[in-house]
């Protein structure tokens, strides 16, 4: 028990980031109906979803809530637990909150009256903003958790993104793991030698990162040379081959039709009207 506590204390930010990365890789390696869809179809559907979510007006809270159905359904179909992506909200929500938090103070005209309770426009627009942030995060998390970096790079290449940029993305993603691991060891060693110190002392600022930078730059050149010698050239044949099948077209067109419907038909109001009147 004591050992576990101790490990938790010294497990630093970098090790947590590493864990997060490998968790995403694990999720992407699962199999489901959504995983086996063509990555291009998924990417385009996700972009369309995010664009539609962002296009809602700042008081259209009820319209946005209906948009929740698409990611929730896909999360269930792909078997990926929804709660995993909420951990990542800690990075998204602070700035969104900082911006939206002032809306209730400036926009105080009541927009909605439910008996004795009056909801002001500012509160509605703040909630709309937070919901938008959450929905966009859910959609992009879903894309990455069911696609993986290899398939994404292959798909970007097929969409004629510059090979230079795609190779750089893939190489960087691979190096991030290596580098973060190396730094985790270094900071852990530093922390153990300087207990109770907050951060790294200024006399070591340059040498700490600089040393690692120089060593890895040399190493990376050798690595890339060996990749070239083995015939690497902008292609991604190790990514699982997923041709664009009829069901991919169905998924893409179906998703687009649903977004269009939910955007322009006030589904929530219509549904509510059935019960209210």
């Amino acid at each position: 028990m004591l050992l576990i506590c101790h490990i938790e204390v010294i497990m630093n930010k970098m090790q947590k980031a590493l864990l997060e990365l490998s968790d995403m890789d694990d999720l992407a390696a699962r199999s489901s109906a959504i995983h086996s869809l063509n990555p291009t179809a998924k990417l385009l559907a996700t972009i369309a979803y995010v664009a539609v979510v962002l296009s809602f007006g700042k008081y259209r809270l009820s319209g946005l809530i209906v948009m929740l159905l698409w990611p929730v359904l896909l999360f269930q179909l792909s078997g990926i637990p929804v709660h995993l992506c909420f951990y990542k909200l800690r990075l998204v929500l602070p700035l969104v909150l900082a911006v939206g938090l002032f809306n209730p103070f400036f926009d105080r005209a009541p927009l909605l009256v439910l008996g004795p309770l009056a909801v002001s426009g500012g509160v509605v627009s703040m909630l709309t903003l937070m919901l938008k942030g959450t929905l966009c995060l859910m959609a992009s998390f879903l894309l990455m958790a069911t696609t993986g970096i290899d398939s994404l790079c292959a798909c970007l290449r097929k969409l004629h993104f510059p090979g230079l940029l795609v190779t750089l993305l893939l190489l960087t993603y691979r190096y991030v793991g290596v580098m973060t691991e190396e730094l985790a060891v270094m900071t852990e060693a530093y922390q153990l030698r300087a207990p109770g110190q907050k951060g790294i002392q200024h006399s070591a600022w340059g040498s700490f990162l600089g040393q690692l930078l120089l060593r890895s730059m040399d190493r990376s050149q050798e690595l890339y040379a060996s990749m070239l010698l083995r015939g690497y050239h902008d292609h991604f044949h190790y990514a699982p081959e997923r041709p664009f099948r009829p069901q991919d077209a169905l998924f893409l067109l179906g998703s687009l039709a649903v977004f269009f419907l939910l955007r322009f038909v006030p589904v929530a109001e219509l549904l509510g009207a059935l019960f209210v009147r």
């Binding site: 209906v66 359904l73 400036f106 190489l171 002392q201």
Partner: protein
Amino acid sequence: MHMADALLAPAVAATMYAASGVAAGVSVYQLKKDDDAQKLPTMAVTAALVFAGQMINYTIPGTGSSGHMCGGMLLSALLGPQAGFLSMIVILTIQSLFFADGGLMALGANIWNMAFYGCFVGYYLLWRPIMRSRLFAGLGPRGGQRARIALASVLGCVLTLQLGAFSVVLETSLSGVTDLPFGAFLALMQPIHLAIGLVEGLVTAAVLLFVYASRPELLQDVDSAGEAAGKRSLKSTLVILAVLVLAVGGGLSLLASSDPDGLEWSLFGNAEAGYSENMGLDEESFGVHSAAADKAGAIQEASSFLPDYAFPGSESPAGTSVSGVVGSALVAGVALLICLAGGFFRKKKSH
């Protein structure tokens, strides 16, 4: 600094994507023209290092706090602006896709705010002119070069972070997601990023000075022999001085003036925009003694609107909103059902 998707309207997001896309396209074209294959692995490894390096905290001497380093200036000093820009794009992409730091739609804006200013503006406006100038020539060749690197790093990070923070405010305000007045929002963002930029600049300077001490040939525009190119020295010195004056003057005036201005404007000013009514504050009688009374007045003012809107049984907009609320609750119920059903079937399958 990473903007989330929710803070942008689609039109603003698309515009920023277009701007960043053009910069990226030009960078890719120029790098391809140079045909520098050796650069690709170096770019990837430095990008990964910046990514990991952003997670280390450095103690700030004299204070109890810590900060992390800045990417753009470091990358453009090591790789040049184009390669540095592409590396930053990749870092931001990985952060948005795998760590949800920033969003898919906001990526274009994030690239512009953090990579474009840091790499292009920081490099062409500060790094290169300072490196080519004869500033600090009195400190001897090596000492002068070290001072120039430190100055360029600190100035570059401060300036590019200020520009980035300004863009964040501008993009958010243009998107119309916040009711916070532009001036007040600016007054919140700029001073805090001045402090952050200073810390990031110092860390960047420390790393670059280390690289200069051990491998000076890795740095852009740094003559390893310590001899500065002399021809354009006077002109570039003038440019640097102008930028320095602008940066310091702009930064100080922001700190000195816009803080009270922005707040004042948002609390009292702009009666035509309705702010003073909404806040329920009066510039003449505002003070400690009347704050409570004003607050009470504001609450009263807000609550006195209610009868106008709550006509029972009328076809007011509130009526449609109520059905909206009921409908939304139903949808939330359906979403919950989908979750429960998914869990149910999965459990069945695994047994």
